[in-house]
Amino acid sequence: MTDKLLEVKDLKKHFPIHRGIVFRREVGAVKAVDGISFDVLKGETLGLVGESGCGKSTTGRLILRLIEPTSGSVRFGGTDLLPLKDRDMRPMRRRMQIVFQNPYGSLDPRMMVGDSIAEPLRVHKLMDGKQIQQRVKELLERVGMSPTYANRYPHEFSGGQRQRIGIARALAINPEFIVADEPVSALDVSVQAQVLNLLADLQDEFKLTYLFIAHNLATVQHISDRVAVMYLGKMVELASSDRLYAEPKHPYTQALLSAAPIADPTQRKRDRMLLQGDLPSPVNPPSGCRFHTRCPLVNEVSNNLCKTEDPPLGDLGGGHLVACHLHKVAPASHLLATVPRA
């Protein structure tokens, strides 16, 4: 068995909504992430897909403790991160980094890129000035840029180059784990492949583990060993990348795959599975299965079960997990503790 680097259990993040200025009171909450559990194995890439607002970025931020969860647990390398005080969290932070979607917003425009890349090294006091300069040069070269660029400012670079700089910065302190939050979504089509290849090469070279967040299914399938699908703060399916695309089991995954355009006119889809309506609000998510308001198969399940009961994430065998009443399966064994009993 491969080691688990990261274990997420029943993780929740509810952002409170306040009303009133003088008497500020809580009137509700955005249930951005609402009880998700999954593992990330050492050296693998776990893809996280789902439509905007389903909680992907919040999940990434919770894992790195850039925001504090409402409840649940995150274990990294066997250590429970959530109870850790700042001082104990610091050495853990050194092992995990994030690459953001927006290569424009994630670099300080007033800082030379060399200083941006060096910042994590300075924060963690890992090297002296000379060593830092040397390291920045190495890093720039490693991401395919000239070391002389260290003295330039972000605006002098294209989107693809800025994303390389963001990656160099994430690599600076030799992390084991990187959350890549839509790292190529904002890039030109012809440049995306460069960055995807770079991420793959770095993974091989430095034995990195990735949580790769994206909404483009083809990109996620390409880069991921396993893929998790989220809908409205819940995880609805998780399987190996090949299996998920060949045999999607959850109606939402099926709809996502069916909706994705295929870049081959000989495979035009005549009978697409079109979902009706829009994404419901995460403030008042639908009862039972959150997908039931849009699910084309909701009537296939008897007793209105979809509207009344939240389907647990169950194991179809071979690590193919799905949360849907259509699939009568045993609760995922390794997640037993956290799966509510039907």
Partner: protein
């Protein structure tokens, strides 16, 4: 084939800025026929939006000017029409749907007021008839409970529903040509599928012609009959959609097809196009793709290749590949 509804040739639109002349559009040629979808595909900044603005004569003066070419709409050159006549065409016979529906909607007016305004302007009917027509238009684009939602404001609609409102507005005057500039780029994939299905209905039921601008080759493959591939202000390849995917000629088109991951197909490694797209203010002489091109020869950086007809419906702008015999399609382009 019948006379095209729209035929653009040699179009040039430049911006005269302090930093120099930005040749945003500098050699664009294509045709659109009734009941067909033409895709314009290319990376951001390659001149797709300026092309559409040029067709509608909405390029921001005085910096921006269309300095060359022809835009024949049913045989009539739009570039030569007096502005008064152009106003009768804009939004009436040619309608535009933009990427961000918020920019085409007025936030302080209800969607009903906006659609009715368009209907009254173009169809010269009274308010009551206009309201009926507006509700029908919203229903036609799949907005549920249109009769009550018509009195809501744009911010009360989701992104996908807003795009439907914009489409309803564009359709209310029954245009012959619909230009959709990245209509789904800001939408999620399940909503994108709904909007694309709607546009496909429009094409079939109303026999409208559609120009669909996108950077997504998947959308092109699913929706388009013909495709113009743009690079740095120029059309570099134009053909029917099957040929573009099965037998691409321009090295940029070939490169794009090889660089994208394909759903359901596990390639261990992508083949990227190296380098970056050029800045339009600092274009090198010769072919703008030369610095990134795998087929480069010396001539490429000396002289700009012309868009050459190599088959009935296939045009290519390349010194090297235009003259080549058909080779089997590059690996990855077809299956």
């Amino acid at each position: 084939m019948a006379e095209p509804l729209l035929k653009v040739s040699g179009l040039q639109t430049h911006f005269f800025t302090e930093e120099g002349v930005v040749k945003a559009v500098d050699g664009v040629d294509f045709e659109v026929h009734r009941g067909q979808v033409l895709g314009i595909v290319g990376e951001s900044g390659c001149g797709k939006s300026v092309t559409t603005l040029s067709i509608l004569r909405l390029v921001a003066a005085p910096q921006g000017r269309t300095v060359g070419g022809q835009i024949l709409f049913k045989g009539q050159d739009l570039l030569k029409l007096p502005e008064a006549q152009m106003r009768g065409i804009r939004g009436n016979r040619i309608a535009l749907i933009s990427q961000d529906p918020l920019t085409s909607l007025n936030p302080v007016l209800t969607v009903g007021e906006q659609i009715m305004e368009a209907i009254i302007l173009h169809q010269h009917v009274d308010r009551r008839t206009a309201r009926k027509k507006a509700i029908a238009a919203l229903e036609a684009v799949g907005i549920p409970s249109a009769a009550s939602r018509i009195d809501e404001y744009p911010h009360q609609f989701s992104g996908g529903m807003r795009q439907r409102v914009v489409i309803a507005m564009a359709l209310s005057c029954e245009p012959e040509l619909l230009i959709a500039d990245e209509p789904t780029t800001a939408l999620d994939v399940t909503i994108q599928a709904q909007i694309l299905a709607l546009m496909d209905d429009i094409r079939r039921q109303r026999e409208a012609a559609i120009i669909l601008i996108t950077h997504d080759l998947g959308v092109v493959a699913e929706m388009c009959d013909y495709v113009a591939v743009m690079y740095a202000g120029k059309v570099v390849e134009y053909s029917d959609v099957a040929t573009i995917f099965a037998n691409p000629k321009h090295p940029y088109t070939r490169g794009l097809l090889k660089s994208i991951p394909q759903l359901g197909e596990k390639k261990s490694r992508l083949v990227p196009i190296e380098g970056q797209p050029p800045s339009l203010a600092l274009l090198p002489p010769g072919c703008a793709f030369a610095p990134r091109c795998t087929e480069y020869t010396r001539k490429c950086s000396q002289q700009m290749p012309l868009l050459e007809q190599i088959d009935t419906n296939h045009m290519v702008r390349c010194w090297v590949t235009a003259g080549q015999q058909d080779t089997p399609a590059p690996a990855g382009a077809t299956r």
